[in-house]
């Protein structure tokens, strides 16, 4: 039995929803970033799967997946730098305790 496009899409959807659950329920800013990484990975699986099954002659999906991996690295670097800055000035990285701009 061949593994079709739908199987890959379902795995990617489950991974995306796990990442969404992590982003919505975690208090720790680093754990929220981990959830975002899971969601980006799910999007990448979709792109590569569509490239393989829908347009095999082109490599556009792989190109987009590589660009997303690059942007995910940028996002992780800047996001973790922000976490460091917040920890240095507020002594906490629990996002529900960081409420300086909330009234």
């Amino acid at each position: 039995m061949q593994v079709g496009l739908t199987s890959y899409l379902i795995v990617a959807a489950l991974l995306f929803c796990l990442g969404l659950y992590g982003v919505l329920t975690r208090r720790n800013a680093v754990a929220i970033l981990m959830g975002i990484e899971l969601m980006l990975n799910a999007a990448n699986i979709n792109l590569v799967a569509f490239n393989r099954f829908v347009a095999p002659a082109a490599v556009a999906g792989q190109v987009f997946a590589l660009v997303i991996i690059t942007l995910a690295a940028c996002e992780a670097a800047v996001g973790l730098a922000l976490v460091m800055a917040a920890y240095r000035s507020l002594e906490t990285i629990q996002v529900d305790e960081i409420n300086l701009m909330k009234w």
Partner: protein, 163 residues
């Protein structure tokens, strides 16, 4: 048959550590569980004949990003103890949203007839990807390099200790 078995094993290797990532109360264990998830996704890329993306996935995700996350956990130790409560008050709402979204997505995916084409990928993916990057997608390539430079400078400026 072998393809189906490999797909099932790789899916489990991807999804079970992902559950640990989002539910574990030990943040270091969650960060280390990212590694098998990323390696499972790498296996899925190999099954999809995207070898170059798989290699980059191992280098960037399983190597660089996990180490970066572990370093930040080490440097912010005051907020990451095992005794610290890791989940906020929206666990039921978050679980409902995630399950609902998964249900809707799976229903949509199984009911849609995707226009699959029976072709083959280029034999040497790296050559094809490199040609695509430097011909059709050269603007994306250049803009991404500028974004990399800006995020490098920005991360240094934000994380630097102010004197």
């Amino acid at each position: 048959m072998g393809e189906l078995a490999a797909f099932m094993i790789l899916s489990l290797v991807t999804l079970i550590p992902a559950v640990v990532v989002v539910t574990s109360s030990n943040i270091v264990r969650a960060a280390l569980s990212l590694v098998p998830t990323f390696l499972g996704v790498t296996g899925l890329y190999v099954m999809l004949q995207a070898e170059f993306v798989a290699g980059i996935q191992v280098l960037i995700y399983a190597g660089a990003i996990t180490v970066l996350i572990l370093f930040v956990i080490m440097l912010t130790e005051g907020g990451t103890g095992v005794r610290t409560r890791q989940l906020n008050d929206q666990v039921p709402l978050g679980a409902m949203a995630a399950v609902w979204l998964a249900f809707v997505l799976i229903v949509i995916f199984t009911r849609t007839g995707w226009p699959t084409a029976a072709g083959v990928l280029p034999a040497y993916n790296v050559v094809a990807v490199g040609n695509a990057f430097l011909s059709d997608y050269v603007l994306i390539f250049e803009v991404t390099s500028v974004v990399l430079l800006v995020s490098l400078v920005g991360a240094i400026v934000i994380a630097r200790r102010e004197d």
